[in-house]
C-alpha cells in the first residue's frame, strides 16, 4: 500500500512539476486540449478504480486473517479497563494482576475485553491491532508472541485526565516459565516472614489501603484498585508510569497525584515507621 501511494504521489508531483515549469515559459500557445476529457476519465476514474478494487480485495483477506488466530487459543485472559489502569484475570486459575499481561510464547491467547467505566482501547502496536473496550459490551481479540520479550501497550481511546498514562506491558515467557509464573500468581499471598513485613501487613489492613486493594489470603478483598497479592512480581506500578522500586513505591503511596494528577488513588498519610513497615510488606509480596 505504501509503494502504491508513493507511485501515485510521484505521478501527481510529476504533473505539478510540469505545470510549474510551464508557468515559467515565456509564451505558450494555448492548445486545444482535446485530450483533457479522456485524461480525466482514465487517470481519475479507470486507474483508481482498478487499483482500489485490488487493494480492497487484499484488505478483506487481511482482515479475516487478523481476526482468526493462527492456532486454537490455549488460554483466555480477561482484560478489564479502569480509569486509569488495566485489570488482568486468568480465568479459573484465580490469578489476578494488573498492567502486566504474561503470556506463553508461540501460543495464541484469547483476550476478552470489557470496561468498568468509560471506553478504552487495547493496543500493543508490536503484537496486534487495536480493539476497543466498550461499556456494556464484551469484545474479543487474540495475541500471539513468538519471541520472548516485553511489549509495550497503551490505551488508545481518550478516556479522561490520565489517558496518557494508561500504559501496560505484555510479557511473553517460554511456556514453562509462564506456567510457573501463573501458578505463583494464582496462589495466595505469602505469610510475611519478617517482623517488619508482618507489622506492615497490619498497617495495610488498618489504613485506607485495604479499602480499595485486595491481597488474597488476607481480609483485604476490595476491588476498586489493582490486586496487590503478588505486587513484588511486577516491574512497574501506577499503570506503567513508575518502576517498581522501594522509593517510587513510597512516593506513589504518599502522593499519587504528583505522578498521575487526577488518579483515583488518594494520598495516604503515614508515619515514617508505618510507611517503612508497609513498604517491607509490599516488597515481600512475591
Amino acid at each position: 500500500m505504501f509503494w502504491i501511494s508513493l507511485a501515485v504521489f510521484a505521478v501527481v508531483v510529476a504533473f505539478l512539476a510540469v505545470a510549474y515549469v510551464r508557468g515559467h515559459r515565456k509564451q505558450t500557445q494555448l492548445t486545444e486540449a482535446r485530450w483533457g476529457g479522456p485524461f480525466v476519465v482514465v487517470s481519475g476514474i479507470v486507474a483508481p478504480s482498478l487499483i482500489l478494487a485490488g487493494v480492497f480485495v487484499v484488505s478483506l483477506n487481511d482482515m479475516m486473517a487478523l481476526s482468526t488466530p493462527p492456532q486454537q487459543p490455549s488460554l483466555t485472559i480477561d482484560i478489564i479497563g479502569h480509569d486509569w489502569w488495566w485489570e488482568v484475570r486468568y480465568g479459573s486459575s484465580g490469578a489476578v494482576t494488573a498492567n502486566e499481561i504474561h503470556i506463553p510464547t508461540g501460543e495464541s491467547v484469547q483476550l476478552r475485553l470489557t470496561t468498568d467505566d468509560v471506553i478504552h482501547s487495547f493496543w500493543v502496536p508490536q503484537l496486534q491491532a487495536k480493539t476497543d473496550l466498550i461499556s456494556g459490551e464484551v469484545n474479543t481479540m487474540w495475541l500471539q508472541a513468538d519471541e520472548p520479550g516485553r511489549y509495550r501497550g497503551q490505551c488508545a481511546e481518550f478516556c479522561g485526565l490520565q489517558h496518557a498514562n494508561m500504559i501496560f506491558y505484555v510479557i511473553a515467557d517460554e511456556p514453562r516459565e509462564f506456567e510457573s509464573w501463573l501458578a505463583n500468581e494464582a496462589s495466595q499471598a505469602p505469610e510475611p516472614a519478617e517482623a517488619g513485613a508482618s507489622r506492615g501487613e497490619s498497617v495495610f489492613l488498618q489504613s485506607s489501603c485495604a479499602g480499595c486493594h485486595a491481597v488474597r489470603g488476607t481480609e483485604a478483598d476490595a476491588d476498586l484498585g489493582p490486586d496487590l497479592t503478588h505486587l513484588a512480581q511486577r516491574e512497574t506500578i501506577a499503570s506503567g508510569v513508575l518502576d517498581n522500586t522501594r522509593s517510587e513505591l513510597a512516593g506513589w503511596i504518599i502522593d499519587p497525584q504528583s505522578a498521575k494528577p487526577g488518579a483515583i488513588m488518594p494520598p495516604t498519610e503515614l508515619s515514617p515507621a508505618d510507611l517503612d513497615a508497609l513498604l517491607d510488606y509490599l516488597e515481600s509480596l512475591e
Binding site: 485524461f39 488508545a156 489517558h163 496518557a164
Partner: protein, 627 residues
C-alpha cells in the same frame, strides 16, 4: 433625473453607524462579518494548538497540567471544525455566491443575518467556558460514557453540547439559504450547466448540512437529557448504548469533513482557470464528483469505528464505500492537473496556494485511502498517524484554498491588492512549516504514539519527531501571521485593484471592487459558462437592456428564475435591515445560559423572549410581504 446608480444607491443604501452594523442584511457585510469572526476563532484555535505543541516538544514536559491540556485539544478541534472553516467558507459563500450568480442579495437576507449572529453567539457561548476554567475537555467527538455526568460532572460538556445545538441553528439556516439562493436567484440564462464550480461547492455544502446536522442535533439533545434530567440514552448500565453516540456523531461527522472541503475545492476550481487562462477541463466531471462526494460521504461513517467490535460484514461495506469516495476526489485532482498542464500557470500567490493544496491534499488523500483498508485502520486509528492524515486533508484541502482565496478575493472585497512579496513569503513559510509539523506525525504514529495524550515517556523514539512537529507548528503560525499583516497593510495602503485584477471568468469581476450595495446596476443576462471571457459587453460596464439585462432599478428587488434553465419567473421584493435577527439570537443565548446553569427563570425568559422576537420578525408591516 438621477442616474440608475444614484437611484439604486438610494434604494439599497444602509445608513452608516452602529445600529446598521447590528441590523444589516447585506450579504456582503455579513460575508465580511463571517470572515472576520471565523478568523478570530482561527487565531484562538491556533493558539491552543501552539500550547499543545509546546507541551509535546519533549517527553515529560509540564507546560500545562493535564486538565488544561485536555481543554486545549478539545477546544482546538471544536473551534477549527465548527467555528473556523465552515464560517469562513460561508463568509466567502455569502459574499460571492450572489455576485457570481448575478443576484442582489441572498434569498433570505434576514435569515442570513440570523445565521451570522447565531454563529457568533454560539462561539461566544462556548468560549465563555474559559472564563470559569471549564472549557469542554473530552475532545471534539466527545465520546460517551466519558461525557456522561457520572464521569465529567462539571459544566464543561454542557458548554460543548448546548453551544453546538445553538450553532446548529446557524448552520442549518445558512445551508437552506444557500440552496434556495443558488437554485432560484441565478441571473437569467445561467442555466444549471453554466453555474460556477464554487457555487456548486456551496450547493453541495448546503445539501450535505441539511442531512448531516439532524443526527448531530439529535445526539446532542439526547446527551443533554442524559446529563440534566437523568435519561439513559447512552448509559449502558441502564439499558442505554454507548456506541449509539458514536454512530450518530459520525453519521454527522464524516459528511462534515467533506463539507469542510467541498466549497474549498470549488474555490480551487475558480482560481485555476483564472491563473491558467483557460477553462477548467472536465467541468461536468468535477460537478458530478462534488455532488458524489457529498452523497457517498454519508456511507462511510463506520470507518471511524472499525475497532469498536462491529461485525465484519458491516465493516466490509463501509470499507468499500470508503474506497469509492476517493474516486470523485481523484477525478477532481486529475482535472485540476490537466488544466494546469494545458494552460500556462501564472504563479501569483493564490496559485502557489493552489499548487500547495494539490500537493498536500493528495498526500492526505493517500493516507486516507489507507484507512479504508480495515487491517491498516485497526493499527493506526487513534494514533498520531490519524492526526497527520486529518491535518493533511483539512489544512491541505481547506485551509490552503482559503488562504489562496483571501489573496484571490480580498481585492474584490476591499478594492485593494495584497502584497505579492509578503504573500509568497507567507505561502512558503506555511507550506514548509505545515509539512514539517505534520509529516513527522505519520512516523510517530507508526511508532505507536496514541493521540490525545498530554505527555509521553522517554526512550520510545518519539521525542525527535515531536520536536520537529513543534518547530513546524511555530513556522506555520509565523506564515499565517504574515498573511494577516499583509491583509492589514493592504487595507491601509494596498494598490487599488480595479474591477478585474486577474482577468477571471465569472460575474463577480464585472462589478466594481468593492461592489456597490446593490451589486450590479443591471442584472446581467448570462450566455456562457465563462461570461467575462465570452461576453465582451460585460467588460464595458453594466450590461444594457439591449444585451438582455434586467434593470430592476425602481425597487428593493432581485430576479427569481427557474431552477434548471434560469428563465425569469418573478421579481422578488427583498427585505430591509432588521433588528429582529440579532434580538432573537440574544434571547436564545439567554435561554441556553439558563439551561447551562440550571436556571428555570433564565431558560423560560429567554425562550419566551425569543418566540416574541420571532413574532416581531414576522409581524405584517403593511407593505409588501417580505420574506
Amino acid at each position: 433625473m438621477a442616474s440608475v446608480a444614484e437611484r439604486l444607491e438610494g434604494i439599497w443604501g444602509e445608513r452608516p453607524g452602529l445600529i446598521t452594523w447590528l441590523q444589516t442584511v447585506d450579504h456582503k457585510k455579513l460575508g465580511f462579518k463571517y470572515l472576520y469572526t471565523g478568523m478570530v476563532f482561527f487565531v484562538f484555535g491556533g493558539i491552543e494548538s501552539l500550547v499543545i505543541r509546546a507541551q509535546l516538544a519533549d517527553a515529560n514536559l509540564e507546560v500545562v497540567d493535564p486538565e488544561t491540556y485536555n481543554q486545549m485539544f478539545s477546544m482546538h478541534g471544536t473551534t477549527m471544525m465548527f467555528l473556523f472553516i465552515v464560517p469562513v467558507l460561508s463568509g466567502f459563500g455569502n459574499y460571492f455566491v450572489p455576485l457570481m450568480i448575478g443576484a442582489r442579495d441572498m434569498a433570505f437576507p434576514r435569515l442570513n443575518a440570523f445565521g451570522y449572529w447565531a454563529f457568533l453567539g454560539a462561539g461566544i457561548f462556548m468560549h465563555s467556558s474559559f472564563l470559569i476554567g471549564k472549557a469542554p475537555n473530552n475532545g471534539w467527538f466527545n465520546y460517551v460514557p466519558l461525557a456522561n455526568s457520572e464521569f465529567t460532572p462539571g459544566v464543561n460538556i454542557d458548554f460543548y453540547v448546548l453551544g453546538l445545538i445553538f450553532l446548529g441553528f446557524s448552520t442549518t439556516a445558512g445551508a437552506i439559504n444557500f440552496i434556495v439562493t443558488i437554485l432560484k436567484l441565478r441571473a437569467p440564462g445561467m442555466s444549471i450547466n453554466r453555474m460556477p464550480i464554487f457555487v456548486w461547492g456551496e450547493l453541495a455544502l448546503g445539501l450535505a448540512v441539511v442531512f448531516a446536522q439532524p443526527p448531530l442535533t439529535a445526539a446532542l439533545v439526547m446527551l443533554e437529557l442524559d446529563r440534566k434530567l437523568g435519561f439513559h440514552f447512552f448509559d449502558s448500565t441502564q439499558g442505554g448504548d454507548a456506541v449509539l453516540w458514536q454512530h450518530l456523531f459520525w453519521i454527522f461527522g464524516h459528511p462534515w469533513v467533506y463539507i469542510l472541503v467541498l466549497p474549498a475545492f470549488g474555490l480551487v476550481s475558480m482560481m485555476i482557470p483564472a491563473f491558467t487562462r483557460r477553462p477548467m477541463i472536465g467541468y461536468i466531471y468535477i460537478v458530478v464528483a462534488e455532488m458524489a462526494v457529498a452523497l457517498i460521504g454519508f456511507g462511510v461513517w463506520v470507518h471511524h469505528m472499525f475497532a469498536v467490535g462491529i461485525p465484519q460484514i458491516a465493516l466490509s461495506f463501509t470499507s468499500l464505500s470508503s474506497f469509492m469516495v476517493t474516486i470523485p476526489s481523484a477525478i477532481q485532482v486529475f482535472a485540476w492537473l490537466a488544466t494546469l498542464i494545458a494552460g500556462k500557470p501564472i504563479l501569483k500567490t493564490p496559485m502557489l496556494f493552489v499548487l500547495g493544496f494539490v500537493f498536500t491534499f493528495v498526500l492526505g488523500g493517500l493516507s486516507g485511502v489507507m484507512f479504508a483498508a480495515i487491517p491498516f485502520d485497526l493499527q493506526t486509528t487513534d494514533s498520531y498517524f490519524v492526526v497527520a492524515h486529518i491535518h493533511y486533508v483539512i489544512i491541505g484541502g481547506s485551509v490552503f484554498p482559503i488562504f489562496g482565496g483571501l489573496y484571490y478575493w480580498l481585492p474584490k472585497m476591499t478594492g485593494r491588492m495584497l502584497d505579492e512579496r509578503l504573500g509568497k513569503l507567507s505561502f512558503w513559510l506555511m507550506f514548509a512549516g505545515f509539512n514539517l509539523a505534520f509529516f513527522p506525525m505519520h512516523i510517530s504514529g507508526l511508532l505507536g504514539q496514541p493521540r490525545r495524550t498530554y505527555t509521553y515517556q522517554e526512550g520510545l523514539g518519539w521525542d525527535i519527531w515531536n520536536l520537529l512537529s513543534t518547530i513546524g507548528a511555530f513556522v506555520l503560525a509565523l506564515g499565517i501571521l504574515i498573511t494577516f499583516i499583509n491583509w492589514y497593510k493592504s487595507m491601509k495602503s494596498g494598490e487599488p485593484a480595479g474591477p478585474d485584477p486577474w482577468e477571471a471568468e465569472t460575474l463577480e469581476w464585472s462589478t466594481s471592487s468593492p461592489p456597490p450595495e446593490y451589486n450590479f446596476e443591471s442584472i446581467p443576462a448570462v450566455r456562457s459558462l465563462h461570461p467575462m471571457w465570452e461576453q465582451p459587453e460585460l467588460r464595458r460596464g453594466p450590461q444594457r437592456p439591449e444585451d438582455g439585462a434586467y434593470l430592476l432599478a425602481s425597487g428593493h428587488e432581485t430576479l427569481a428564475t427557474s431552477m434548471l434553465d434560469a428563465t425569469p419567473q418573478a421579481v422578488v421584493e427583498m427585505p430591509h435591515e432588521s433588528p429582529w435577527p440579532v434580538t432573537v439570537t440574544v434571547a436564545m443565548m439567554v435561554s441556553f445560559y439558563g439551561v447551562l446553569f440550571d436556571s428555570a427563570l433564565l431558560t423560560a425568559g429567554g425562550t419566551v423572549a425569543s418566540m416574541a422576537a420571532v413574532a416581531g420578525w414576522f409581524w405584517p408591516t403593511g407593505e409588501t410581504q417580505e420574506t
